[in-house]
Symmetry: C2
Subunit: 159 residues, 2 copies
Amino acid sequence: MKISIVKAKSEQDIIDAYALIKELAIYENAPDAVTNPVSLFIEHGLGENPIYKLWLAKHENKTIGMALCFTAYSTWKGKMLYLDDLVVTEAYRRKGIGKLLLNALTLHAKNEAYKLIKWQVLDWNLPAISFYEKFDVTIDKEWYDCKLYEKDYDLFLSK
Amino acid sequence: MKISIVKAKSEQDIIDAYALIKELAIYENAPDAVTNPVSLFIEHGLGENPIYKLWLAKHENKTIGMALCFTAYSTWKGKMLYLDDLVVTEAYRRKGIGKLLLNALTLHAKNEAYKLIKWQVLDWNLPAISFYEKFDVTIDKEWYDCKLYEKDYDLFLSK
């Protein structure tokens, strides 16, 4: 099976990725959690200063996987590539396509002098955790995520 | 005590922030963990497309606190402001300066249409966790951090 990994370039590429994100949210019983509209998703990914970078896995011109990342920063380490989402459509899982996408990011990180690549995994996702451990990924279990949502900004400011 | 919160603008501002980062690393017994050189830290924070945004807390023209963040992206939520580091120098802690810095970020997030602000806290840092909970911050405990460091890129690619 010939899989190619390419950088997203067109509006259609981004629409394809959006469909994969939606598919995964439905699979996870959380379709309403995707509140980012496709119009903004397109705007943020194209143009002169895109907020994110997107790689796609394609098979016979069909988009069957994606990895989305952005440039993050660590005061201690410097420039960091942050992977927000990695999706492979259901029929194509367990064929090594996730690894091909991670390889593309790793090559990019190497060429662009990123000091590390960071992402997150759910604590119950044992297959993913053991996959990562097999590939020399460091797993840090001592951090909690803190999130202040838009709806709570005013309340936060008033306290 | 009159504290002003300002956006970092000059090389000296960034050098001041770097000193705070080093101070904290020494306090945490990890001075060698700061491998990001000050020269790169300056380069990444200034110019037309800085990687990070930096706010400083000043008292009588002395920099006594800092908050560093960058634009991140969530496929599900959209544009996100990610706070990497919040530091207040020791003599000025417990005076509400951290909250002033967080307020500046929150105002920025509100004005620039960020959907959320995200950061992390160590699981043993109970005072910080209860501080955040008091201010309507959502704490997610179910994620692990995964990190692939530069020294392991080639090994990862070879497997």
